[in-house]
Amino acid sequence: MSALNIIFGWQMQVVDNSTNQTVVNASQSGMTLAGTAYFCDQYYQVSTSGSTISLPSTTIWSLFIQNKGSNVVTAGWTSVNPGGNFSATSAGSILPGGVFIYHQTVETSAGLQAIVLTANIATTPCSVFVGY
């Protein structure tokens, strides 16, 4: 039996301000990964020279990052088995208040490795969760 259940859920609403009506209301819940270990830091300090997150396993299948600061943070990672035409090493920008989530429900394939966060101007706090 796995020690942990890592469960993600989300809800998205779009409000038309002119009529104050909700025009889109979508959600999903209960997306569960049977996990073994996790690391969570609500105020992980991201440096401008690059902060490598200490992963509980070489490959993780659940990732949550939220930029809690006022500077842009770049998240870099290595995808496992990304396919033949693409580089496994990739990156994306997370602006202040922005979020990046990657969540798999099984650990059979895919996953992320070598996650590095880099702040563009000054040390920036981020909420970080990684699990497998």
Binding site: S18, C40, T105, V106
Partner: protein, 148 residues
Amino acid sequence: MASIGSVTANLTLQMQGLVSGVAQPLVTRIPPPFVFNSSTDAVFSGYLTVTASTTSPQTIFSLSGAPYASFLYVRNASTNSEIEIFVTFPSSLTSPTGIALYQGGWFLHGNPNVNTPFNASNTAGVKILTAGIVAGSAACPVEYMYAI
């Protein structure tokens, strides 16, 4: 383009430890809602079947210019354990970014208040989303949603 309003995404992360078969919540993270600015112009969603390979990926959407998508959600909706897909979301115009999603896997990339002109140091929008099948079945259903 006329503004349609704001986009709010509420996200919840919950963890349960299974102790002697009894689920005990360990961590519940409920970030503040992500409220996009009032100049949000459009929201699109869809469900399609990807049949392309990663060597010639299938375009799900492609935006000609700013504003780009400030919110993107993509899920591999397959139940075939052999299917794996690859998606790209170039956050800049020159360096495509990729991630692999196995069956049931998903990712979400959202930045509030980025519906403004982008520049070299602030390129957080998504311009193009493509997908291809790495291995498994010849067809993979993909669910997606994005906001501009």
